[in-house]
């Protein structure tokens, strides 16, 4: 029986790179993203590796979408890996906190913080059964305090604390949770953060492949609660 992974924000950029890495290892994939056309194209491409690729386009902060995803997992009866990769920047360019529209900030938190937690809550029985791993995609903005990054950064800081707390709460159940800062990459989201600027000096998201290869082979309870930098020089297990 193939391993099953659910990835959000999987139609392009980093999410697609991780999905491709898993597809090539014969994982069955459940992929979601907002853009249906991109998602279909990704599914077609990754399906060539031979595993099953199921897709459901929609907004991960929508409770109905979360339930529909949980139903897809239930149909497969298994979940080894949940990658909470979908997130939104808020506005482009990003406003300073002093003038940040609070309604937008609510949406940012709904997608970047509440949706990952909602999925974990809903999928926990399957994750427990498979002794699965949850990967929450974070950002250096979570700790940077960079002017203009306060909204997005605060949401990622909240996600980091969710990751650490969940790791501690779930340790006894065998479910592991890690947080990963993938580093700067040449993606559509990064371009939106720097509108009009040349970001061609940033590496493509494929630069993180070796890190995922390393992370996914670790004994997940040994790494649970850690926060990693995918582009760091050293990936260390705390000894």
């Amino acid at each position: 029986m193939n391993k099953v992974a659910l990835l959000t924000g999987a139609s392009r950029g980093l999410g697609k790179v991780i999905a491709g890495f898993l597809a090539a290892q014969q994982y069955d994939l459940i992929l979601t993203a907002r853009g249906e056309a991109d998602l279909k194209a990704t599914a077609l491409e990754l399906g060539a590796f031979g595993g099953e690729v199921a897709i459901l386009a929609g907004d991960v902060s929508d409770g109905a979408q979360q339930q529909a995803l949980a139903k897809m997992v239930a149909q497969r009866g298994r979940l080894d890996l949940l990658v909470n990769n979908a997130s939104i920047l808020g506005l482009s360019p990003q406003p300073a906190l002093a003038v940040y529209p609070l309604q937008t900030l609510e949406t940012v938190f709904a997608v970047n913080v509440l949706a990952p937690l909602g999925l974990v809550q809903m999928l926990l029985p399957w994750l427990e059964q498979a002794q699965g791993l949850v990967i929450n995609i974070s950002s250096d903005a979570a700790v940077g305090g960079y002017p203009g990054w306060g909204g997005y950064g605060a949401s990622k800081a909240a996600l980091d604390l969710l990751s650490l707390t969940l790791a501690n709460e779930l340790r006894a159940t065998g479910v592991a949770v890690v947080s990963v800062d993938p580093g700067d990459m040449r993606t559509q989201m990064h371009q939106a953060a720097f509108p009009g600027e040349d970001i061609s000096d940033r590496p493509l998201p494929e630069v993180t492949l070796p890190f995922w290869a390393w992370l996914l082979a670790q004994d997940s309870l040994l790494i649970s609660g850690q926060r990693f930098h995918a582009q760091a020089e050293v990936w260390n297990i705390k000894v």
């Binding site: 070796p210 390393w214 020089e233 050293v234």
Partner: protein
């Protein structure tokens, strides 16, 4: 640092084409070039202890070499798959080559299937920035496959195959290296005894080497992509290294692998026990914090390891030592002569 800073002229006749034993020498009878800020001296490896002091700590790599070169068959025909690094869960990094002397690239694509014996492998994706290396996935036990069908990785300059034993150092304990951590090769039990008698301490790390050390391809040396290697610095070794430094003695690394492991375990103040993967690239701009000296072989023109040597002892001293090595006919590569570099 520019790529041209790592270039030097070396006649191809100075490549060791066979193990010293095949040249009727004991392992510790290879030549040793000793480079210090006051100049160079020429001796044999058996005399190593003469150049070390009581209290110095010699750190060796305990990784053992795998028979990592597998004959494989794919849609492209028969070729070699040199396994570089075991990531775990059936994922390996590997270098497909036409043969020992013909590298690649081969016309490969993600999803391609390769077969060796009863083992099937599937290509996942090339390594970012190093397209000659591929991630592969298999359900098969490649360690068993290697035992049955593998041979030590060999390149064109070594004209004949030699058994795996020729590729093990006396420190080899933990299998995992694609290529011999060759700086340790000249060590013999009598060299170890002479070090102990001299009051030199010894400790170990494990770093499993990947396929052949990198040649710098970018004009700006620091921009070179590095692949990651598994390493382990045990608690006991971290303690010994820190105690040695506190006492004002020297830490001597046996091999660039040991430098990489120790520097990867440096937290800005001391060496900490560590286990993970490192892709740390040590060059002069980054510098070294832990090691005071290095026992190593002779590295090719443009090898990334030369940047590490420059970081330890300075570009001028290393370039001067390589001129001396070429002039005196020292031998390059894993079966060649040895070089002790002390930064003074």
């Amino acid at each position: 640092m520019q790529r041209t800073d790592l270039f030097f002229e070396r006649p191809s006749s100075l490549q060791a084409t066979m193990p010293p034993e095949a040249r009727h020498l004991q392992r510790d009878e290879v030549r040793l070039l000793v480079t210090t800020p006051t100049g160079h001296s020429h001796t044999t490896f058996a005399q190593l202890a003469d150049f070390l002091e009581p209290g110095d700590l010699v750190v060796v790599n305990r990784s053992a070499t795998l028979p990592a070169s597998l004959p494989v068959t794919g849609a492209q025909g028969d070729f070699l798959l040199n396994l570089s690094t075991n990531y775990g869960d059936g994922v390996w990094l590997a270098e497909p080559r036409w043969s020992t002397s013909e590298p690649g690239p081969l016309p490969l694509a993600p999803g391609d299937q390769l077969t060796t014996g009863s083992a099937d492998l599937h290509l996942i994706a090339p390594y970012p920035g190093l397209a000659r290396l591929w991630f592969v996935h298999t359900e098969a036990d490649l360690c068993a496959t290697m035992q049955a069908r593998g041979s030590p990785i060999r390149y064109g300059y070594v004209t004949n195959p030699y058994p795996l034993a020729a590729y093990q150092t006396i420190f080899a304990k933990v299998p995992g290296s694609a290529e011999m951590p060759s700086a340790g090769r000249p060590f013999s039990q009598r060299v170890v005894r002479s070090l102990r008698q001299q009051g030199v301490k010894m400790a170990g790390i494990t770093l499993h080497t990947g396929v052949s050390s990198l040649e710098i391809e970018t004009e700006e040396v620091e921009a070179q992509a590095m692949y990651a290697e598994p390493f382990h610095v045990p608690i006991a070794t971290a303690r010994l290294v820190n105690a040695t430094r506190q006492a004002g003695h020297r830490v001597i690394a046996v091999g660039t692998t040991v430098v990489r492991a120790l520097e990867s375990a440096w937290d800005g103040d001391k060496v900490c026990p560590a286990r993970g993967f490192t892709r740390l690239f040590i060059h002069p701009e980054r510098g070294v914090h832990v090691v005071d000296g290095l026992v190593t072989g002779f590295h090719d023109p443009l090898a990334s390891h030369l940047a590490m040597l420059y970081a330890i002892a300075g570009q001028a001293m290393i370039q001067d030592s390589y001129r001396a090595a070429v002039q005196q006919g020292y031998l390059w590569h894993e079966f060649g002569d040895s070089h002790l570099i002390l930064k003074g």
